[in-house]
């Protein structure tokens, strides 16, 4: 999860191979599906059949990070006793009216600006009608006619091969961002044949971000969503944690032959993680291709992703077509936003949302942050992705760099390879790390000063990981890991090894220098890793040449 999305660099493959040799169809959904990194279809492969161009668009609902809900003053909180965060308005008690939360407006404006959108200075609210147990009013208040922001773009990066050495930037157009209400939650109790309804989430503010169908596979969709997630978290407009339902993604998928009109699209819902997003999209693309190639048709339907089976299944079809009967929300006059030029003279400042002011106060976006990291520390772009992808890791890294003389280029290795893998193994976040940046810096300093070898350093790190409160130096002393500084002692050990390895010595003298490594290894073992291999090599060479 920590690394940037792996690349799309291959050909669209069939679910099974045709042609010579018995076909053994790969299990559905598990064959890696890929598309050209440039986003287009790839010329026909070996089997000679016409290529397919998949088209993927996304509708993303991000829960706004605010204290209270979009139109009411009840609290926004993830876990709480059922129906305890519900106001009269949320429960649709007759006579209650919506009142717009200023913070939600600001969040949407921030997000719109970060995604290069035009902010509509006047936007409107509408009612979208349908009946559902978790929608008490029988309609949702949304922005269908004139949303708060339109026509933006999001840039994201992918690795174009598996080696993670080359990244390419892609862009997806943002059609619009609209403010709308979240619904409550229905818990289906099949045993007692009833549905339990909890309205805690009903009325929480959402930003719906609509991404145009500019993507072509699961990886792209995943990368785009990941970047959006980072942006939202950087802005603070949404915590965007998918596991807590703060970020929900629906994918619109269709396929067509290049040059032909777009195919019928399906909507895929019930995707609970970015990883599943990629899988769901790829599965659906594959399913559609197979369906069409075997002469079938694609229905314009909604499908749910089943994460256990790794496939999409049709959702229970509602009888008849849906008509949301959109109507203007009569209880909300138009939402007016201002900028420096249009700022009214005598207005209560609490009633004014100034787009320019919000723009000025935008924090550095992830792309900017990454570029700065690369420039400042000389690390690779891929590294910067990983740093930003992990909550708190950048800060950790920078703290270590501050406290050590070791070059950042070297520090990054320890962060990404050692620290991060430990964290992953133990399912910990950076904040929960038993090894603080201070401790790690301490350790790296010992290494840098050549007081210990890198092998020893890794051992120390393993000890530090236990979180017993010992400093690196204490551990080094305890385990006697310090490099032997005494030249004489080293020489003696080297000599002892040389004396004990006649055959190897002869081989070396004969010209097979690779065997020297074995001797170095033996010295290391003898010294229990406390010898500097560079020094040992020098000593051995010196002795052997005598």
């Amino acid at each position: 999860m920590a690394v940037a999305a792996r690349g799309c660099g291959g050909v669209w493959r069939r679910a099974w191979q045709r042609g010579a040799g018995g076909p053994s169809p790969a299990p559905r959904g598990q064959r890696a599906v890929a598309c050209n990194a440039r986003g287009g279809a790839v010329p026909a492969g070996k089997s000679g059949l016409a290529p397919w161009e998949p088209v993927v668009g996304l509708e993303i609902h991000a829960q706004i990070s605010s204290n209270s809900k979009l139109f009411s003053g009840s609290q926004v909180q993830f876990a709480a006793p059922p129906n305890s965060l519900v106001s009269f308005f949320d429960a649709s008690l007759p006579g209650t009216l919506p009142v717009l939360n200023r913070r939600c407006v600001e969040a949407a404006v921030m997000t719109g600006l970060a995604l290069n959108c035009s902010i509509n200075k006047k936007s409107l609210f509408d009612r979208k009608h349908y009946f559902y147990a978790d929608l008490p009013a029988g309609y949702q208040i949304t922005q269908q006619r004139v949303p708060i922001a339109v026509n933006g773009s999001l840039s994201y990066s992918l690795c174009i091969d598996n080696k993670m050495s080359q990244m390419v930037t892609k862009t997806v157009r943002i059609k619009q961002i609209q403010l709308e209400q979240d619904s409550g939650k229905s818990l289906h109790d099949d045993t007692r044949s009833q549905t339990l309804v909890d309205l805690n989430r009903a009325g929480v503010g959402l930003m719906e971000v609509v991404m145009e169908p500019d993507m072509c596979c699961g990886e792209e969709a995943a990368a785009a969503v990941r970047e959006l997630q980072l942006i939202l978290q950087t802005l603070g407009s949404s915590q965007a944690v998918m596991a807590e339902g703060q970020l929900r993604v629906d994918a619109n998928v269709s396929v067509h032959h290049p040059g032909e009109p777009y195919g019928v699209r399906t909507e895929v819902k019930n995707i609970n993680s970015i990883r599943f997003l990629a899988k769901a999209v790829d599965y659906e693309i594959q399913r559609q291709i197979e369906e069409l190639e075997s002469g079938g048709t694609i229905l314009n339907e909604t499908r749910a992703f089943d994460s256990k089976l790794g496939c999409t299944v049709p959702m229970r079809d509602k009888e008849g077509k849906q008509d949301y009967r959109f109507m203007p929300e009569p209880n909300l006059p138009p939402l007016i936003l201002y900028d420096a030029k249009s700022l009214p003279a005598n207005m209560n400042h609490q009633q004014v949302v100034n787009i320019d002011l919000i723009h000025e106060r935008l924090p550095d976006l992830p792309s900017v942050k990454r570029a700065k990291l690369v420039e400042r520390y000389g690390i690779l772009p891929e590294h910067s992705f990983t740093l930003l992808n992990e909550d708190g890791l950048t800060e950790f890294f920078e703290n270590v760099v501050k406290q050590t003389q070791m070059k950042p280029k070297k520090v990054i290795g320890w962060i990404l390879n050692d620290l991060l893998s430990y964290l992953k193994q133990h399912s910990l976040t950076v904040k929960e790390s038993p090894v603080s940046s201070f401790l790690l810096a301490d350790l790296l300093n010992l290494l840098e000063k050549k007081e210990i070898s890198s092998t020893a350093a890794k051992q120390v790190l393993a000890e530090l990981w236990k979180g017993e409160g010992k400093t690196p130096l204490e551990i080094v002393k305890e385990k006697k890991l310090e490099l032997i500084q005494d030249q004489k002692e080293l020489e003696q050990i080297c000599q002892a090894v040389i004396d004990g390895q006649e055959n190897e010595v002869m081989a070396i003298k004969a010209g097979n220098l690779k065997v020297l490594n074995k001797l170095i290894g033996l010295v290391q073992r003898e010294t229990r890793g406390r010898s500097n291999p560079v020094v040992v090599k020098q000593l051995l060479e010196k002795k052997l040449s005598q």
Partner: protein, 524 residues
């Protein structure tokens, strides 16, 4: 005492001539003896007496909260009242006890008013007779007045006085009847197409429809959100000004209230109308306008002219479309507003259990009457994707034309418009129910509906009695947020016409006091 105006009785309370508890008890007693009017759905006897007690304590301390302290009032049963049933005269909300007070109600209570009970209406305020609620129709108190009985000529043997009672008009009929029969000194109604002014005219009381956005709708169960306003029913214009003063102003809970400051005002006792320009919109001579009302309207125009005002004919050409326009916009909003009634969180819930959808459908079938269900279906039809442009958007455009008519007239220098309020006086119930609700509403709202389209303030002032001895009222329509000017003119007019007080036996028996009101030369 009960026949006094709000301000008069307030003065009496202040001077200690009567206590809040006495006043409250008298009203409650009168409510009981006028039960046949069916004006009240719920009488909140206990809480009212408690409120009266609290008020009394304040008066004794010499610290009344204001003019409304201790004044018995009634509230239409589509306003939320905490702890007191709110039914909207519908099976859907029978037994519903709201956990909160509507802002308008809260404001009155904060001023010390005593809430006697909730008044009857057409189900969910849909109707113009106050006859289509589940608690039965409201009877116009004038049906039992000496004035009406004297003039009553039975058309056949089967007809007798008792069965020929007339309607109150609607949908705020209960509130109008309550004020008219002296059981309270002021009542809250609602006005979407004339629902406050229409019953005010038929019941001979003052009915004020304020400008849209002046009084909070928070807690008023909506019919048409973009046109509803809380309405004020009182016995005289001064009283309406007092109540308005305590209700108007920005409510952060209602985003459709304006944020401008509102200053309560007192009306001058003497007004100079010679500086005014009174407009007579010719389209308000609508087909079916009774000759009686036409004559009164004419006389009223003369009155202003003789006082030196400029009285001119004006035109509001789209008046004739307001009913059709209202029909589409109202049903569409109703379709939307009623979507929340599904039995899940509150209200009636069907026993049907097979699925959520079937439970919802059964609940709504059982809970709503035909009128409501009919409007929900029509409204949904107009909102369908294929119909939206041709019906809903079209109606919205016509709405703008109607509103612009008023803008043009007011911009041309006219200050106030003078029109009839209803086409005729109150009809007998037996006659009224012969036509269906939509037709009736269409006919009866024609003179009042356009003011709701345009959001303008309007007021019914009782003017004279008809040949049948029933009240006729005339309507004044003013500029947005110019209630002071509107009420000033209305008060002046009220003074000129000296509308007679209703003579009800029941009230006479209750009223021992020597509070007499002038009943001499009436206007007709």
């Amino acid at each position: 005492m009960l026949r006094a105006s709000l301000r008069e009785v307030s003065a009496a309370l202040k001077e200690g001539h009567v206590t809040p508890t006495e006043l409250c008890q008298r009203c409650l007693s009168l409510i009981k003896s006028t039960k046949f009017l069916n004006a009240y759905i719920t009488v909140a006897e206990e809480t009212a007496l408690k409120q009266a007690e609290e008020s009394e304590k304040r008066y004794r301390r010499g610290q009344p909260l204001g003019v409304l302290d201790g004044i018995p009032i009634a509230v239409k049963d589509n306003f939320n009242t905490a702890g007191i049933e709110t039914t909207c005269a519908s099976n859907m909300l029978k037994g519903y006890i709201s956990p909160y007070n509507a802002t308008a109600v809260q404001k009155l209570l904060d001023q010390g008013a005593v809430l006697l009970g909730k008044t009857n209406l057409d189900e969910f305020a849909m109707g113009s007779g106050s006859t289509d609620g589940v608690f039965g129709p409201v009877r116009n108190p004038w049906s039992y007045s000496r004035q009406y009985k004297e003039k009553f000529v039975p058309k056949s043997h089967s007809q007798d006085e008792k069965s020929n009672w007339v309607i109150t008009g609607g949908s705020s009929g209960g509130s109008a009847a309550a004020v008219s029969s002296f059981t309270c000194f002021a009542a809250l109604g609602s006005d979407t197409g004339g629902s406050t002014r229409n019953p005010a005219a038929h019941c001979g009381v003052v009915g004020l429809k304020p400008t849209y956005g002046l009084i909070s709708r928070h807690g008023l169960i909506p019919l048409v959100n973009s046109m509803d306003v809380p309405g004020i029913l009182t016995r005289c214009v001064d009283d309406a000004a007092v109540v308005l003063g305590s209700l108007a102003g920005h409510d952060p809970k209602d985003s459709t209230t304006i944020q401008d400051d509102f200053k309560p005002f007192e009306l001058p006792n003497v007004a100079d109308v010679s500086k005014l320009s009174i407009g007579i919109p010719k389209e308000y001579h609508a087909p079916g306008l009774s000759s009686e009302i036409l004559a009164l309207w004419s006389k009223a125009a003369d009155l202003f002219k003789n006082a030196g005002a400029k009285v001119i004919e004006v035109s509001l050409p789209h008046t004739c479309y307001s009913i059709v326009c209202y029909h589409v916009l109202c049903t569409a909003e109703v379709a939307s507003n009623m979507a929340r009634f599904d039995g899940l969180e509150y209200g009636h819930r069907s026993d049907m259990n097979k699925s959520t959808e079937s439970m919802y459908a059964a609940t709504r079938r059982e809970g709503f009457n035909d009128v409501v269900r009919g409007r929900i279906l029509s409204g949904n039809y107009f909102l369908l994707k294929q119909n939206y442009e041709n019906y809903f958007i079209k109606a919205q455009k016509v709405r703008r034309l109607i509103a612009n008519d008023f803008v043009k007239v007011f911009r041309s220098g006219v200050d106030i418009l003078l029109t009839p309020t209803t086409l005729c006086d109150a009809v007998p119930y037996m006659e009224f129910i012969k036509e269906d609700n939509r037709t009736r509403s269409a006919q009866d709202d024609i003179l009042t509906q356009a003011a709701n389209m345009a959001g303008l303030p309007a007021i019914n002032v009782p003017t004279a009695l008809s040949e049948r001895g029933l009240p006729i009222g005339l309507q004044f329509i003013g500029r947005s947020f110019q209630e002071k000017q509107l009420l000033t003119v209305a008060k002046w007019f009220e003074k000129q016409v000296k509308f007679p007080m209703i003579q009800l036996e029941e009230v006479k028996r209750h009223d021992h006091d020597a509070f007499q009101h002038q009943k001499s030369a009436s206007f007709s």
